[in-house]
């Protein structure tokens, strides 16, 4: 600014040369006769502006700005609430998923156990049955063996008897033959 003031001071004599014939040689700023009017109208206009700002502009602007701040903070609060709600729901869902999978595992394992039990029982029963059948059939085989042995003996004795009777007069008794055979 000092720069401009210097230029101004430098140019001032120049301009005064142009202003030849002007009624007052000084600056218009120094003309005291205009002061009352300037002061009066300054007071009038500035008071009007002050009242306008004080009563009209500032209350409205401040409420608008406050409202906006409130709205923003409310929205942020609401968003935070929704966010926490959503994370709660997610937690709930996870819990449910976990418990459900636990439950299903239990069901699977318990059903496996019952199945195994049933199978074991079935096996045992069948084994018992099979063993019984085996012993029975062994018995039968034994009986048939004995029977067939006796039949073979008898048949052998009979055969021997018939052969012997052809060559010898006295036919040996059965007991004798069986004694000889053994």
């Amino acid at each position: 600014m000092k720069f401009f003031l210097k230029i101004f001071i430098f140019v001032l004599p120049l301009s005064e040369a142009y202003a030849e014939g002007q009624k007052s040689a000084g600056l218009p700023q120094m003309d005291i006769s205009t002061f009352p009017s300037q002061l009066f109208w300054l007071i009038v206009t500035f008071t009007a502006l002050y009242l306008f700002m004080w009563k009209f502009v500032i209350p409205r602007l401040s409420t608008t700005i406050e409202e906006r701040k409130d709205k923003i903070s409310n929205d942020i609060n609401e968003a935070e609430n929704l966010n926490s709600e959503a994370s709660k729901i997610l937690e709930n869902y996870d819990d449910k998923m976990n418990s459900a999978s636990l439950e299903s595992n239990e069901i699977v394992s318990s059903s496996k156990a019952t199945m195994n039990e049933y199978l074991d029982k079935l096996k045992k029963d069948n084994e018992i049955k099979i063993n019984a059948m085996i012993t029975e059939s062994e018995k039968k085989i034994h009986q048939q063996k004995q029977q067939s042995e006796q039949e073979i003996k008898k048949a052998t004795i009979d055969t021997i008897k018939s052969i012997v009777s052809k060559y010898v007069e006295t036919v040996p008794s059965d007991d004798e033959i069986s004694k000889k055979l053994n």
Partner: protein, 246 residues
């Protein structure tokens, strides 16, 4: 008359009567100065009436502009003075808008710059000085006199420091008013002088024209800056009155 001379840089500051008026023998005629004061407050009012006509959460351009100026001054006052400054906000806000629009309207060719007259800026500065002094004594009682003797200064320096502080305190309204007035006066005179050079030099006038364009941009900056400086200094003086210990 100066009106005969197209390149008289002082002519733009002359006050001419539009309507004669007198109260108790004192001349309070409606002049071109008064007219541009009315223009300045009309511009301010237009800005805020348009800005506040459709108040909404998402502002339109004019609302944005009025809220921007509101926040600018509110933040300035809060930073400089703190919460006690709230009561003076309407005055500070009006002061800024008035000086701002006076300075800017004055930049338009063939207009009058209200703030280029020392009596106007001195009226503001004197009012601020008186108000600040009154506030200082009302809030702090005689303790306000401490501003003339800053804490931490040895007592033997008091005879030196206290007169300096008193002089600097009393010169505040003068420096405040002269700063704004001289800036406007000098800037507008230079613009006018260089505009005159363009006419005088004829074809060679393009050189001062380029300079004028640059200067005009600078003057636009100064118009805003001086309004800001005037306002922030008012805030600083107010802060001194409310907290004299600093």
């Amino acid at each position: 008359m100066a009106a005969d001379n197209p390149i008289d840089p002082i002519h733009q500051f002359e006050i001419s009567k539009i309507a004669e008026m007198q109260i108790a023998g004192i001349d309070i005629s409606f002049t071109n100065s008064s007219l541009f004061m009315v223009f300045a407050i009309a511009a301010t009012m237009t800005l805020f009436i348009l800005g506040l006509s459709k108040r909404s959460i998402i502002p339109n351009r004019m609302q944005m502009l009025s809220e921007l100026s509101y926040n600018f001054i509110a933040n300035m006052l809060r930073d400089q003075v703190g919460d006690q400054g709230r009561a003076y906000f309407p005055f500070i806000f009006s002061l800024f808008m008035f000086i701002f629009f006076c300075n800017f309207i004055g930049l338009i060719p063939y207009t009058f710059t209200v703030t280029s007259h020392l009596i106007v800026t001195f009226a503001f500065a004197g009012l601020i000085f008186l108000a600040v002094t009154l506030i200082g004594f009302m809030k702090n009682g005689l303790g306000y006199l401490r501003i003339f003797y800053p804490s931490g200064i040895p007592i033997f320096l008091a005879p030196l420091i206290v007169p300096i502080e008193i002089i600097s305190y009393l010169s505040k309204p003068i420096s405040l008013s002269v700063r704004l007035c001289a800036n406007m006066l000098a800037g507008h005179s230079i613009l006018k002088i260089f505009a005159g050079f363009i006419v005088m030099l004829g074809f060679l006038g393009f050189a001062p024209l380029i300079f004028l364009v640059v200067l005009y941009a600078l003057e636009t900056l100064i118009a805003a800056l001086q309004a800001y400086i005037f306002t922030i200094l008012t805030c600083i003086y107010l802060n001194d009155a409310l907290h004299p210990d600093h």
